[in-house]
Symmetry: C2
Subunit: 663 residues, 2 copies
C-alpha cells in the first residue's frame, strides 16, 4: 500500500484546476446561446458537447488523467517548433512535387490527375508520413521514371522516419522532465509536512528535540490505521535504533518513506485442515500428496496437459469425443486447484499479490459456470447460446496463458507489463477523453452521411453506403460502410482505425467525398493529437517503465528495513521467493526454524516473517517517486555527507547520467 | 578534429572479424558446388551471393557498420524472449479467432472464406501488427457483430502498441548498454596507451617522473602533424601550467583529451581588398556597404525575397514574366553572396564549419550553371533538357531552406540533425547490406514472376503484370506491376515499400500468388529483421542523439582549456558567436583590441583568437566518448578527489541517473 503514509502526510488538498471554471463557463454560454436560438427556431450546434470530457478530467479520482493532460500541455510549446519545421519540410517537398510531376500529365490508379494541386499534394504527403498511402502515392511517378522513386524515398526517410523519431524524442524528453518536476515537488512537500509534524510532536531532551515513542505510535495508528502491530513494531525498531524510547528528527523524517515501502507480513499459519484433522493431514498418504504437488514435475505435467488441451482446441469441435474431452480438461484443472489448496495454506494461496493463482481460479470457475449454463440451456431448449459459447471459448484459450508462468524469462516481461497495467489505464482514460471529443465533432459533421446495411439485406443503396457520392469510391468497394459516425460506438471504432493509421487516406477520402474536402482537416487534426502526441506519450511511458525496471536498485531506506529484518531474524530471502512459489519457501523455513526458537528479540514477532515486497510488485509511479526522493534527501539530512565519501568512483561522476542506468 | 590524437594514441589494430573467414569459406564451398553442378548441367542457386555483403562489412573503413552489426548481434538474445512471447500471444489470438469466427461462414471482401485456417489467421494477425491490413481484416467480423471489434481492438493494443513498444525498449536498452561498453573499453585502452607513452618518455626529476618540453613537442608534432604552432603553444601552456619546462604524469595524460577538443583557431586576417586597395575599401561608400550587409535588416530583406521567390515558384511557370523573374532572383542571390564576400574575410566566410555559407554558395552556383546550360541547349536545339530542368527546379526550391537559418529555434533542431547526419549514413550502410541480402534472395525467388509493361504499351498481359496468376488480384488492380524483383534497383524499392509496411499484405499476397504461399515467410522474415530490429535501432539512435544534445554540459578538460584561453586573453566569447555571424564578432573584437596591445603573454599568440568549438558541431560519437571518459577519469588521476568535494549535492546522488539529464 504505497501512499498510505504519504497520502495522509503529504497529499495536498486538491485545488480547483484552472480548466474547470473555464469549461463550466463555456458550457453555460453555450447553453444560453442554444436556448435563445432554439426559441427563435434555429437549430444550432451544441458545440460545448465536445467540452464535456473536461468535467471528467476534474473528477477527484482522475488525478492521473489530469497529470497526463498537464504533461501534454507542457509538451506543446516544445513540440510546436518541431512541428512547424516538419510542416515547412512537407511544404518544400510539396512544392518540389508540384514542379516535378505537375506538368507530366500523369494519372493515378483511379484516373484522376496526379499531383497537380499544391493543397492536394500537401495532404497526400502529410498522409505519406502516416505511411497510409505508401506506395500508391509513388506508383504513377515510379512507373513514369525509375529515378523519381528517389524523391519519395528521401521524403520518407526525412519526414516519416527522422521527424517522427524527433517527435518521439521531444515528447519523451518532456515527459520525463515534467514527470520529474511534479514528483520532485510532491517529495519536497512531503518533507516539508513531515518537518511540520515533527515540530508539533517534538519535546526537548538534553540538547536536542526528539519525539517520544507514545506519540509516534499514536501517529502511525492515525495515518495507517490498517497497519499490523508486528509491522508497527518493526518500524519502531528501525526508527528507534537503540530502543531508547524516543527518536531524533532524522529518524522521525524517515517515517513516511518507511510506510511507503511495502513490507509483506507473512503470517505463517498452519493449514486449516491440519488444525481440524491433524491426524489425517499428517498421515503418510496425505504427506505424499503434498510432496507430489510441491514437486517440479507436478508443474510440468500440467504444462503438458495445457499443451494437449491447446491441440484439442485447434481441432474440430464438431467431433463429440473432442467436446467431451473439454469436460475432462476442465475437471483436471479443477483437481489441480483443489490439490494446491490442500497443500498450501488457502489464505496464502489467495494472497493479494498471487496474480496467477487468482487468474487460474477465476478462469476455471468462470469456464465451469459458463459450461454448466450452456449445457443446461442446451438440454432444455436444444439450442446453443452463442454469447455463452463465445465466452467459454475465450476462457478456454486464456487458460493456455498459464504456460508462460513456467518460463522464468517470460515471467519477468509479463510481470513488468502487469505492473504498468494500472498506469496504462490512465492512458486509456486519456485516450477515451480525446476520442470522445473527436467522436462528438465527427458525429456533428458526418452523422448519417454513411449508412450501413445488413450484408444479407439488398437495399438499393447498400453498395454505396446509402450515399450516391460514394459510387465507385474505394471506400464503398472495400465495404467500409460500417465505418461511420452514426453513433458513439461506431465513431470510437473509426477513431481506433484512424489511430492505427493504416488506410487513413481511404477513410479520410471516403468521408471527404460525403462532406466537403475541408473534412480532411478533421483527420489531420486527429492524427496530430492522437498519433503524434498521445501515442508517443504512451510509447515514452512504456520505454520509461522498462528502463526503470532495468535500472533498479534498492534504496537506502529499503536497505535499512531489510537490515533490521535480517537482524531480527524474521526475514525471508527475497531471491528464493518467486511468485507462485512463495508458499513453498515459507513452509520450508517454518519447519527449519521451529527447532531453534528462543531468541529474545524475535519473541514479540514470533510466527511472523517479513520481506520487502519484490520489486516486481512495485508500481512505476512509486518507483519514480522513490528515485526522486533519494535525490533530494541530502538537503535536509545530516549524516548523508559521510555516506558521500564512501561512494565508489563511478557513482561520483554523474556527468553521463544518461548511461549510468544501463551499466 | 576529434580522433586525431586519439586515433594515434588509442585506435586498436583492427583484428580480423570472426565473420570474415566464415564468409570466405562458405563462398568457396558454394563456388565448388556451383561449378560441379554446372558441369553436369544442373542450374543451381548461387546462394552465397546473399553472403557477399559480409565482405563489405569487413572493409577497413566500415568500422561503424561493424559496430552496428555487433550491436544487433548482442541484442538478439534479449529480444528473442520478447519475440517468443509475442509469437505466443499471436498464436493464442489466432486460436481464439479460429474458434470465434471460423464457423460463422463469413466472407472477406474478395469473397474468400474468412478466418478458417489457423496458419492464414496467424499470418493475417502478424500482418495486423504491422497495421498493414487494418481495418480490412476486421470488417467482416465487425459487420457481423459490433462486439467482435473489441477482439481486434484488444489485439491491436496488446500486440501492435504494447509489444512493439517493448521491442523498442529492449532494443534501445541494449543499444545503450553495448554502446557504453564499447566506448568504455576504447577509453580504457586510450588511458593505458597514454600511460605507456609516459613511461617511455619520462625522466626522473627530484622525486617524481616528468616529461620534458622538447620530447612533448616532438610527440605532439608526430601524432597531430597538422596542428598549428599557436594551438600547440596553447596546449603547452595548459599542460605545463607553471612554465617550468616539464610536466608531471597527470598533465601528460590529458594530452589525448586536449587534442580531442576542437579548438577553433581564428586567424584574424585583414580583408584581401583592404590589403590591395586600402583607400577604396576604407572609403565612406565602402564602409556604408559593409555596415548595411552586417545589419540585421539585410538578412530580413533576403528572407522576404526568398518568400516572394517561393510564391513565384508555386505560380505557373508557363508565363514568360515569371520565368524571367527566376533570372532576377538568381542574380539577387548572387549579389548577396558577393556583398557578403566583400564585407567578410573570404577564408573565414568559407570556414570549415560554415555549413550554411557553403550550402548557399553551392546551391546558387549549381543553379547558375544548370540554368546557363539549359538556356544554351534551348537556344541551340530549341529543346529543354528534362534532367537539367528537374535539377534546376530542385535547386531552386532547396534555396528556400535558407529561411530556417533566420529562426533560432529551428536552427537548433536542424543543427542537431546535421550533426547526426554522418552516423545516420552508418545506418544507411547497415540497411543497404541487409537490403542487399534480401534483394538477392528475393531475386532468386521472384525473378521474372511479375513483369512491368510501359503504361502506353498495350501488351496482352500488361494488366495482370504478365502473370495469369495475378488475374483479378488487388496487386494487379492497384497497378503494382513495377513492384518486382527483376533487378536490384526494383528489388530495393520494393524493400523500401515493405519497410514502410503500408500495403505490406497487398505486396506479400501478390508475390505469394505468383510463387507458393511459403513466400510469405520471406516477408515476415524481412519485417522482423528490418522493422523490428533495424528501424528500432535507428529510432533508438535518434532518441539517444537528442537526449545527449539536451543533457550537454562542458567537460572538465574543456573548462581547463577555456580558462587558459581566457587567461591568455585570446578568447572569443562562445555565447556571442553564432554560426554564420561569427565573422562579425571577430572583426569587432579586432578593432577593439588593436588599441591596447601590449600584454606580454599575448605576444606569442598575437593576431590569433581561439574558441572551443561550439557544442553544436560535435558528433554524437565524440560526445558519448567524452561522457564515458569523464566517468573513468578518477581511477587514474589524483587531484580529482578534491574536485569531488566541490560537487553540488544533486551531483552526488546518482541514484536516479535516468532523470538527471532531464533536470
Amino acid at each position: 500500500m504505497p501512499g498510505a503514509g504519504q497520502g495522509a502526510a503529504a497529499r495536498p488538498q486538491r485545488p480547483e484546476s484552472p480548466e474547470e471554471p473555464l469549461a463550466r463557463e463555456l458550457t453555460l454560454i453555450d447553453l444560453i446561446i442554444y436556448g435563445s436560438l432554439e426559441t427563435v427556431n434555429i437549430h444550432s450546434v451544441r458545440w460545448s458537447r465536445a467540452l464535456r470530457p473536461v468535467f471528467l478530467i476534474n473528477f477527484p479520482e482522475s488525478r492521473q488523467i489530469r497529470r497526463a493532460f498537464r504533461s501534454i500541455r507542457n509538451t506543446l510549446p516544445d513540440i510546436l517548433y518541431v512541428f512547424l519545421l516538419f510542416m515547412f519540410s512537407v511544404l518544400i517537398f510539396s512544392l518540389m512535387a508540384l514542379k516535378l510531376f505537375g506538368d507530366r500529365g500523369l494519372k493515378t490508379v483511379e484516373g484522376s490527375p496526379y499531383f497537380t494541386n499544391i493543397l492536394e499534394i500537401a495532404f497526400e504527403l502529410y498522409v505519406l508520413v502516416t505511411t497510409a498511402n505508401s506506395p500508391d502515392v509513388m506508383m504513377p511517378a515510379y512507373d513514369f521514371n525509375w529515378w523519381y522513386s528517389l524523391y519519395f524515398i528521401t521524403y520518407i526517410i526525412i519526414n516519416t522516419y527522422i521527424f517522427m523519431s524527433v517527435f518521439l524524442a521531444v515528447v519523451y524528453n518532456n515527459y520525463r522532465k515534467h514527470l520529474k518536476n511534479e514528483i520532485r515537488k510532491l517529495a519536497y512537500l512531503k518533507r516539508h509536512k513531515m518537518t511540520e509534524a515533527f515540530n508539533i510532536l517534538k519535546v526537548k531532551m538534553d540538547t536536542e528535540f526528539v519525539v517520544k515513542e507514545a506519540p509516534w505510535r499514536q501517529l502511525v495508528k492515525v495515518v495507517a490505521p490498517d497497519i499490523s502491530s508486528s509491522h508497527l513494531e518493526l518500524l519502531l525498531r528501525i526508527c528507534d535504533e537503540g530502543q531508547k524510547g524516543y527518536m531524533d528528527k532524522t529518524n522521525f523524517l524517515r517515517l513516511a518513506d518507511l510506510l511507503n515501502i511495502q513490507v509483506v507480513t507473512i503470517n505463517v499459519k498452519t493449514h486449516p485442515l491440519e488444525t481440524w484433522l491433524p491426524r489425517v493431514y499428517q498421515s503418510a498418504a496425505s504427506l505424499l500428496i503434498q510432496k507430489m504437488v510441491r514437486h517440479r514435475i507436478f508443474v510440468w505435467v500440467y504444462d503438458v496437459i495445457i499443451l494437449i488441451n491447446a491441440i484439442f482446441i485447434a481441432l474440430d469441435e464438431k467431433n463429440p469425443l473432442i467436446s467431451y474431452a473439454e469436460w475432462l480438461f476442465l475437471s483436471l484443472y479443477i483437481v489441480e486447484i483443489l490439490l494446491k489448496l490442500y497443500t498450501y495454506e488457502p489464505r496464502a494461496y489467495f494472497g493479494r499479490k498471487q496474480f496467477w493463482n487468482w487468474f487460474d481460479t477465476l478462469i476455471i470457475m468462470a469456464a465451469l459456470v459458463a459450461m454448466v449454463a450452456n449445457a443446461t440451456i442446451q438440454s432444455a431448449r436444444k439450442y446453443n447460446s452463442q454469447q455463452i459459447l463465445d465466452i467459454v471459448l475465450i476462457l478456454r484459450i486464456l487458460r493456455l496463458l498459464r504456460v508462460i508462468v513456467s518460463i522464468q524469462r517470460f515471467r519477468v516481461i509479463v510481470t513488468t507489463l502487469i505492473n504498468i497495467g494500472p498506469t496504462m489505464l490512465t492512458f486509456g482514460g486519456l485516450v477515451l477523453v480525446v476520442y470522445y471529443v473527436f467522436a462528438i465533432i465527427g458525429m456533428e459533421v458526418f452523422h448519417g452521411k454513411v449508412l450501413f446495411f445488413d450484408p444479407n439485406f439488398t437495399a438499393p443503396g447498400a453498395l454505396v453506403c446509402g450515399n450516391p457520392a460514394l459510387e465507385d469510391s474505394i471506400f464503398a468497394q472495400s465495404r467500409y460502410c460500417r465505418n461511420n459516425f452514426n453513433d458513439l460506438a461506431s465513431s470510437f471504432i473509426v477513431l481506433v482505425e484512424l489511430t492505427v493509421v493504416n488506410h487513413f487516406t481511404l477513410l479520410a477520402n471516403g468521408f471527404a467525398l460525403v462532406t466537403h474536402q475541408v473534412a480532411k482537416l478533421y483527420f489531420i487534426g486527429f492524427h496530430i493529437v492522437v498519433v503524434i502526441l498521445i501515442v508517443n506519450i504512451f510509447i515514452a511511458f512504456i520505454l520509461e517503465a522498462f528502463f526503470v525496471a532495468y535500472s533498479l536498485e534498492k534504496s537506502e531506506v529499503e536497505t535499512a528495513i531489510e537490515k533490521k529484518i535480517q537482524e531480527l531474524g524474521v526475514g525471508v530471502q527475497e531471491e528464493e521467493v518467486q511468485d507462485g512459489k512463495l508458499i513453498d519457501n515459507v513452509d520450508t523455513k517454518d519447519c527449519g526454524f521451529s527447532g531453534d526458537d528462543g531468541d529474545n528479540k524475535r519473541k514479540s514477532l514470533k510466527g511472523l516473517y517479513f520481506r520487502i515486497a519484490s520489486k516486481k510488485y512495485r508500481t512505476v509511479d512509486a518507483l519514480l517517486q522513490r528515485m526522486f526522493e533519494s535525490e533530494i534527501a541530502p538537503e535536509d539530512e545530516g549524516p548523508s555527507l559521510d555516506e558521500i565519501l564512501n561512494f565508489s568512483p563511478s557513482d561520483i561522476y554523474p556527468k553521463n547520467p544518461n548511461f549510468e542506468n544501463s551499466a
